[in-house]
């Protein structure tokens, strides 16, 4: 534990904390000859305790003024799990149900189902590091890789805000891969792409993504939430001229992922149950030892100091009220 001060020069005031040693703080009553008073251990104890309280109260006040805080720490942790980046589709269509309609209460939207299942998923895996990125027309950075579950939960809940416009998957993927750019990352690296549609990837991005996927040794899971009557991942084109990225982006994205030469698994979920099945699969598969450093943020201790000072001053005040009136 390392402590630091915001305004260290105020610590010069600590000398004042010695003042109670010279003055007991109780109004002196003149007495003819102190030697007449018999020795009383209890009184001595109380007097010493009062002085100590006063010294501590002053010390706490000055430490509080100087801004005592604990500096940012990191803790080494080892667990079984993975570094998982959730890449969430925030396009408009995620707000619809699996039937492709606006949710009317009886059925939940794809986004809600994804949110619910992902938060369950994150709670089942206590040792994983999770990061969240979202994408729509542009990628959205939500949460860096962290073991902080409340933050993760908050980030997942934050995706409940209304969805945005279109689907720009290549930029989202680039951002998700960026999460793994930090050098000292151990354990398996997973990108879990949750989307209900796909888009064509332009050749420049395609080249870059290939390179990134290779470099970062990433395992990719694609959870495709298929809307009823929309093209699936595994659908074959009826005509050869339809077999292009513009007409069937889902199929071509799947083909692109398959051609990357990385561990890749696609799940096509047509209802929330199928989605749960897919997540359970991932849960089962990814259990590699993970070595990471947990960051503990800077902690302000001045409030604690003031609390102590208040308590001690209240004690001294009560002692003041106990003073005998002559």
């Amino acid at each position: 534990m390392s402590l630091a001060f915001t305004t260290p020069w105020l610590l010069a005031g600590l000398g004042l904390a010695l003042l109670p040693l010279t003055n007991p703080g109780i109004r002196p009553t003149p007495y003819a000859w102190l030697e007449m008073l018999p020795a009383d251990p209890l009184s001595g104890l109380i007097a010493a305790a009062l002085r100590l309280c006063a010294v501590l109260a002053l010390t706490a006040l000055i430490l509080g003024l100087a801004g005592l805080h604990r500096t940012e720490q990191s803790r080494e942790r080892i667990g079984h799990g993975a570094n998982i980046v959730l890449l969430l589709d925030r396009s408009n269509s995620m707000g619809n149900t699996f039937a492709g309609k606006a949710p009317d209460g009886s059925e939940e939207s794809k986004a809600t189902a994804a949110r619910r299942l992902l938060s369950d998923f994150s709670q089942q895996r206590p040792h994983d590091l999770f990061g969240i990125a979202a994408y729509s027309t542009a990628p959205l950075f939500v949460l860096p890789l962290t073991a902080n579950k409340p933050a993760l939960q908050a980030a997942i809940n934050a995706t409940a805000t209304p969805a945005l416009a279109y689907t720009h998957v290549s930029k989202g993927l680039a951002m998700a891969l960026d999460f793994f750019a930090q050098p000292n990352l151990t354990g398996s690296r997973i990108v879990l792409l949750v989307s209900d549609g796909a888009a064509a990837i332009d050749p420049d991005s395609e080249l870059r993504l290939r390179q990134y996927f290779k470099q970062q040794q990433i395992r990719l899971y694609w959870l495709f939430l298929r809307t009823a009557n929309s093209p699936g991942i595994f659908d074959l084109p009826q005509e050869a001229r339809d077999d292009n990225a513009q007409a069937m982006p889902e199929r071509h994205l799947h083909l692109f992922f398959s051609s990357l030469g990385i561990p890749y698994q696609a799940y096509q979920a047509e209802n929330p149950d199928a989605m749960r099945q897919a997540i359970a699969d991932i849960n089962r598969l990814e259990h590699a030892p993970l070595h990471y450093r947990e960051r503990i943020p800077q902690q302000d201790l001045s409030g604690l100091c003031y609390l102590w000072a208040t308590g001690l001053l209240a004690l001294l005040l009560s002692a003041k009220f106990c003073e005998a009136q002559r």
């Binding site: 009553t29 000859w33 007449m36 018999p38 009184s43």
Partner: protein, 284 residues
């Protein structure tokens, strides 16, 4: 401060005075007086008015016998006062007022006998003692008292030694006005030095110091002389202990003074001449 009229008391001496000057006390000298002493030959005491014919007839040697009487003599009264800061306590009645009452009462009682009154006040060893020597006049006493009233007792230590050289050489009646808050060795030295005198230790204590203590609460007592402080958590048990300590102190003082042939008189919060009257009546 409007001085209350002093009350007088009568004092008696344990041994007769052998002072030359006539006064109000039983004396050893043979001279004019009312108390018959012995018969003396006319040649030794040539006062034909005092010839006792019956004693002369009865005398086998046939000389004239003259009646000789004891002369009542004067006596010196000295007040030896402790003027350390502990006597400057301002309780219910300030200690200095009580002392002043005592000085006036003793002085005027001495005047009523025609005796000489002296005052010696002792403070710290470096201070010059306060002196009023061989006073017989009320005016001088009052001037002294006025001066004394303005004085504040601040001496942080007490030393009797400088005062002792100012004591009369002949046997005198010495009142020690003090709270006797000093150690036994100092008291022994003082009593030894006063061995030739008739000593009356007057112990002035303040009720605030032991009788009127609070039952409960925190008190911070500051020593009047050393200035050191002590915080006490007062409770009935401790109060009882303090009372016991004072009772013990009273006993110790009595023992110590009696071993030098003096009976101390304890006065709390006031100077009452009746107490002195009773003291002298019971003593002689």
């Amino acid at each position: 401060m409007n001085p209350r009229p002093p009350q007088l008391f009568q004092y008696r001496l344990s041994v007769p005075s052998h002072r030359l000057f006539p006064g109000g006390h039983r004396g050893l000298r043979t001279n004019n007086g009312q108390l018959f002493n012995r018969h003396e030959p006319l040649m030794a005491h040539p006062d034909p008015r005092r010839i006792d014919l019956r004693a002369s007839v009865l005398d086998v040697s046939g000389t004239y016998k003259v009646r000789a009487y004891r002369q009542p003599s004067v006596f010196d009264v000295v007040v030896l006062a402790d003027m350390s800061a502990s006597m400057g306590q301002t309780g219910q009645t300030p200690q200095q007022t009580i002392m002043l009452d005592g000085i006036r009462s003793i002085a005027q009682s001495a005047f009523s006998y025609g005796d000489r009154f002296s005052f010696i006040g002792c403070g710290a060893s470096t201070e010059k003692p306060w002196l009023l020597g061989n006073c017989r006049h009320l005016g001088r006493l009052q001037a002294f008292v006025r001066q004394w009233q303005q004085h504040r007792l601040t001496a942080t230590s007490l030393c009797w030694q400088p005062a002792l050289s100012h004591l009369p050489l002949q046997r005198s009646l010495v009142f020690i006005l003090s709270d006797f808050h000093f150690n036994a060795a100092q008291l022994k030295t003082l009593l030894q030095a006063l061995a030739r005198h008739d000593v009356v230790p007057l112990v002035l204590w303040q009720a605030e110091d032991y009788l009127n203590l609070p039952n409960w609460g925190l008190v911070n007592y500051q020593d009047a002389e050393s200035g050191s402080m002590r915080t006490l958590f007062m409770r009935p048990v401790l109060r009882q202990k303090i009372l016991q300590a004072f009772a013990q102190r009273r006993q110790n003082l009595q023992q110590l003074c009696r071993s030098y042939g003096n009976e101390p008189l304890f006065l709390t919060d006031s100077f009452n001449p009746m107490q002195l009257q009773r003291y002298f009546l019971s003593k002689a």
